[in-house]
Subunit: 373 residues, 2 copies
């Protein structure tokens, strides 16, 4: 079978005060068009459908419209889970009626244990979970962290494996090795909350949500789709899109989504920015992040620039931390201590002392130790 | 056909801080048992399923469990609307999937215009509405109050009438002539928001929600079921239950629901209340409202009485306003001005002056005039 893998729709999310509903509607239409063109048999949405546990009434309407269109109008089976931004209970209310039209929405650990079988594939739909939920479910006090929880879950899921079928896990967590950026807010993405990619090797494909860039992880069978829309300045340089997965040959292809209003960083002096010769070359409909090259005081800078660039999302000084560029400079495969050096330097302008280095190394070793217990 | 008419479940409601979830679960079980015994073909729920527009996760789970049990396990068709306590949007999310199993939940004026046909009956499911919603729906600026809105809605619904069928309206509003009590909180129940019973004569039966006592209105074809559970001291003497409606002969029968913990008013002196000879005759598992006969100061009265009566919902002095008794004394069919006299006397101990009487009469005439425009 062929399915489309998307995640992190975050309906209700704002970008520095700007409503993203038009972006999200357009992205949805692109997802639908890709599903049609690629003749997929199902659509996977790997969590964080909403941006907040108590979504606004407008957001409830938006998501309801999209899901109705996809499932009831266009008759795509949907395989979805709740993410850490969703309220599993609120999102899951009503889900028992959805299955009649092949809209499978799992929001509890118990549901994750019963695979959904479509064509040649068993889908295990595992919502975002906290270790205590898995501890309670199995009544096993030895389950103390997400890795232990995940190991147990995988073992149980394997009991359900039909060897004649392909096995796909849909989940929402931080997989080890991931690079992550600042719009995955209020998420525990520390080392202790990571799940090692190796521990997921039982599956033919793992469709992940949680991190917003597809390049957050480079593994053949374990992939983040990323969000369909750019949700922060740190995502300015990400290519958004969805994965098309073909289970016959277990091939994957990334299909891109184009923003209506892109996020663009302008690093210029104030004088240049207000010069028509310059700004007429810029797509001023975009969300604009400005990094001022000036060093002197400029009065009323936001108001003056907003007259020219209506959708300014931030103004920074070039010598401040300029996140979007940082992201593109940093190689996520570097040693964590080297990454820490980079970060400390860019944040403070100084370097770690030898003593600080030693502490960091010790803490990291401790953390890694706990992780692989 | 035969259907059961209930309303005002108010899942999530508390009684002076006491959780009512056990009461509500038990009432649900009694409703289910009545539906079985009476061999009904459908269950009508006339609004206020939740107590709050943003229901807690616990409440979402509770209601979901009940509705699933009724519709998916016991296969009863459900005809439901949103009330003023519900968020139409939140409650209605997912409702497009529910109809596959004959769970009809209408939360918009547009939906109310399309009758649900079951057996020999057309059901018009009209959610709680504000006049502006009907004004917008019909694009008619002449619609300024609920009566005007209702007249227009009835006219439109009549266009849909199949003369070979019975016609039932399910709605959630204050019908004129109603007596109402203090647990219908934050509701605009003034005269201007009332709908005249006469204007509903096109229907064979009107299944109402909004007021919590079945005796709030005495009309042959327009009935409140009342809430299944007592939600305030003022409901202490109400008999709770549901209506069984048979459309073949258009007969109605009231079936009672028995509380697990009833609301009971004790009017005694403190000395009597703490005397085992007295309190051993009382069902102390009940919710107890105490009206102290004493006139002297008593220290730490709540703490001392709670040791004996664990579920005290209020302590009053006998010479204060004692609502539960008031309710039973007042005949709702009295002239509004006579009712006002009663109320003023009991609230203040004095009587209205002639001048005050005149003002009240004038205001009432004005209000009645606007109502019947």
């Amino acid at each position: 079978m062929r399915f489309l893998h998307t995640a992190d729709w975050h309906i209700g999310k704002k970008l520095h005060g700007f409503d993203l509903v038009e972006e999200q509607r357009d992205a949805y239409q692109q997802i639908l068009a890709i599903a049609d063109e690629e003749h997929v048999d199902a659509v996977v949405i790997a969590g964080d459908l909403y941006d907040r546990k108590v979504a606004s009434e407008l957001s409830v309407n938006e998501l309801d419209d999209m899901i109705r269109d996809l499932n009831l109008t266009h008759h795509y089976p949907i395989l979805a889970i709740s993410g850490n931004h969703d309220s599993a209970t609120r999102l899951g209310s009503g889900s028992h009626w959805y299955e009649a039209t092949q809209f499978y929405l799992h929001t509890t650990v118990a549901q994750a244990m019963k695979p959904v079988e479509l064509d040649d594939t068993q889908f295990f739909l595992l919502p975002y979970f906290e270790p205590f939920q898995v501890r309670h479910f199995f009544e096993d006090d030895a389950i103390q962290n997400v890795q232990q929880a995940m190991n147990r879950l995988v073992t149980e899921m394997q009991q359900q494996f039909d060897p004649s079928k392909k096995h796909v896990l849909v989940a929402h967590f931080f997989a080890a090795g991931s690079e992550h950026v600042d719009s995955e807010t209020s998420v525990e993405v520390g080392g202790l909350d990571a799940i090692a990619v190796d521990s997921l090797s039982a599956f033919d494909y793992v469709a992940l949500g949680h991190l917003h860039g597809k390049d957050a992880l480079h593994a053949e069978k374990v992939k983040y789709s990323g969000s369909p829309v750019k949700f922060s300045l740190s995502e300015a340089n990400q290519q958004k899109g969805v994965w098309i997965v073909d289970t016959a040959e277990m091939s994957t292809a990334f299909k891109t989504i184009t923003p209506v209003k892109d996020i663009q960083v302008l690093t210029e002096s104030f004088e240049t920015l207000i010069d028509p010769k310059y700004y007429e070359t810029v797509n001023r409909d975009n969300f604009i992040a400005i990094s001022l090259a000036d060093t002197q005081q400029i009065t009323d800078v936001m108001a003056r620039l907003r007259k020219i660039y209506p959708s300014i999302i931030s103004i920074d000084r070039q010598n401040g931390i300029e996140i979007a560029e940082q992201q593109s400079r940093v190689d996520p495969n570097l040693d964590p201590l080297v990454l820490l050096d980079h970060f400390y330097e860019e944040a403070t302008g100084g370097s770690l002392t030898n003593e600080q280095h030693k502490w960091a190394a010790l803490t990291l070793t401790d953390a890694m130790g706990e992780e692989t217990v």
